[in-house]
């Protein structure tokens, strides 16, 4: 039912280049729009490379939202209070909603959600590797809200002004919700650090120790090694460099850690008055690439969980389609029946 409808929308959206297209004229118009800072819309002509890059980026983002439901979902049934259970459930639900808007934005570029999901499950498409780390304690939930949602916001705010209209608009809504998540995560840590038992405080510090470096890696490889950045900058798909964003994140987070009363696990972290920024220690990029290449602590678990949900849900999706077919047949045989 769902998937069929999606495929149709996708086919229509894919059919936007007129038969009489003169690529050069279209290219000039496209470039002019980009230069003026106008949005590119689904019906507009766009270069194939732009379309492909966007599909890759938006679908990777969508997959990240959906896979990202798993680490925190791991704690919903064990949340310590009913209020925290409700907050966490609503947060994880928001992430699913982000997945939905983003899949819808990708579909305007002529792919279907099913194709995208299959690319994820076959291992062809990637998702953010931050979700390949385990949530070992309840404090991980708060720290993910604070640092992971925080880093996501840093990454995504520039995308609210990206050149592709549907993506930019999805990002506006998503960023609003992500900052809500960040605040809730931070607040839950504050309660534990200010009013909690020594055991709870130790739990928070341990979670910070484990998530700090992976959070810094969320901004991607250093600018010197980033493959797609220059072209994406030109297209307005990416507007601020990985290293700039990372620095901005560190600068914003250090004072937050002080207020919280936790230590960030980096002996080199120090204010540099000349640069007007915090200096921080070297990032272990080998660890980063290991996780991206499938060797993180939870890569196998995350993919297995997504595959299981998809495979075990197949009979449900088939039943829904079969029912929709029958309903359609009934409507045509008895057109007057309600």
């Amino acid at each position: 039912m769902y998937t069929q409808a999606m495929d149709l929308i996708a086919k229509e959206a894919g059919n936007t280049t007129p038969a009489t297209a003169e690529p050069e004229a279209y290219q000039r118009e496209f470039d002019a729009k980009i230069d003026r800072g106008d949005f590119i819309e689904p019906k507009d002509w766009m270069p194939e490379g732009y379309r492909k890059t966007l599909i890759r980026q938006i679908s990777q983002h969508a997959h990240s939202e959906v896979v990202g439901m798993l680490p925190e979902g791991n704690w919903i049934t064990r949340a310590p209070t009913l209020k925290r259970k409700a907050i966490l459930l609503a947060k994880v639900q928001d992430e699913g909603g982000h997945g939905l808007y983003l899949y819808a934005a990708a579909e305007t570029l002529g792919v279907s959600r099913t194709e995208l999901i299959e690319a994820l499950l076959s291992g062809k498409a990637k998702y953010s590797s931050i979700f390949n780390y385990p949530t070992l304690t309840w404090a991980d939930v708060g720290v993910i809200g604070w640092l992971v949602d925080g880093a996501a916001i840093m990454n995504q705010i520039p995308l609210c002004k990206c050149s592709y209209g549907p993506y930019a608009r999805a990002m506006v809504r998503i960023c609003k919700e992500e900052s809500f998540h960040q605040r809730q995560g931070y607040e839950s840590l504050l309660v534990m650090m200010r009013e909690g038992t020594p055991e709870q405080k130790a739990m928070v510090q341990d979670a910070v120790n484990r998530w700090w470096w992976p959070a810094l890696m969320m901004f991607g490889p250093p600018d010197s090694e980033s493959v797609h950045s220059p072209q994406s900058m030109r297209w307005g798909i990416k507007r601020v460099s990985n290293d700039e964003l990372r620095q901005k994140f560190v600068d914003a987070t250090v004072p937050q850690a002080e207020v919280l009363g936790v230590t960030l696990p980096d002996p080199h972290l120090k204010w540099n008055p000349e640069r007007g920024h915090y200096d921080f220690g070297p990032i272990n990029w080998k660890a980063f690439w290991d996780v991206i290449n499938g060797h993180g602590p939870c890569n196998r678990d995350r993919m297995a969980a997504r595959r299981r949900a998809w495979e075990e849900g197949a009979w449900v999706r088939e039943a829904a389609e079969a029912y929709a077919e029958k309903a359609k047949r009934r409507a045509t045989t008895h057109p007057t029946a309600a």
């Binding site: 769902y2 439901m69 798993l70 979902g73 919903i76 049934t77 064990r78 949340a79 310590p80 209070t81 009913l82 209020k83 925290r84 259970k85 409700a86 459930l89 609503a90 994880v92 639900q93 699913g96 909603g97 939905l100 309840w138 604070w146 925080g150 916001i153 900052s179 809500f180 960040q182 605040r183 809730q184 931070y186 607040e187 839950s188 504050l190 309660v191 534990m192 909690g196 038992t197 055991e199 709870q200 914003a252 937050q256 207020v259 969980a305 299981r308 949900a309 998809w310 075990e312 849900g313 197949a314 009979w315 449900v316 999706r317 088939e318 039943a319 829904a320 079969a322 029912y323 029958k326």
Partner: protein, 277 residues
Amino acid sequence: MFVTELLQTTPDPAAETALTLPDYDPETQAALFRYLLRLGDSVLILGQRTSEWCGHAPVLEEEMALANFGLDLIGQARMLLTYAGALEGKGRDEDTLAFLRYEHEYRNVTMTELPNGDFARTMVRHFLFASWMVLLWARLQSSADPHLAAIAGKAVKEARYHQRHAGGWVVRLGDGTALSHDKTQAALDDLWPYTAEWFESDEDDARLAQAGIAPHPGELAAPWRETVTPTLAEAQLRMPPESPFRSHGRWGRHSEHMGHLLPEMQYLQRAYPGGKW
């Protein structure tokens, strides 16, 4: 984001406001306390089960719907248990009641604690339960107890949505493929005997019915059957035969499943005594 922005507190919609308690005789007060646990635990435990689906639903839209179910049920549980604690007057709040009781002190109807099983079983259970709750909340809206009436006014709308959404799936799965039909029928056959408990009653029920606080459970049996029958028929499902089986969750005697659900739910409260969350 700046620290100051991060420190802005977000209001908690379910946070308790000071309750003015109705003036009941001790027996009525105790009976209402137990009744609130029966209701509150039922929605709490079903909410707990429903939230187990998170990340595992057959389509993303159903992730959202199941999370909605869970959120509504947990919200209802918070209101009911908060009121129960206030009425009891021993300083127990929603969390003390939700997380720090022994198994036999939970009063949820047994069906809510059964494992989710597959998607058909989850939706059949939700449909049967929500159909009952729609009738119950509708009656409780005119309860002589003002707090319970107010909770019912909010909950009845949520239960209607649950009934409609889960009922839609019962029909789609029951009348979908041969495989989905068989799974749905098996779920219905399996769950049906657990509905009998909902309509049984004891002295508490009689007392609350007498006081106009809650309907007599038995009064809902026929209307409930009438509500679910058309949907089950549309779904091409056979109504299961009556069974002498009885469950007793409302009396604190649970299935074996409850002893696995509780330690998971209570883990942090038990492992970090005195913690602040």
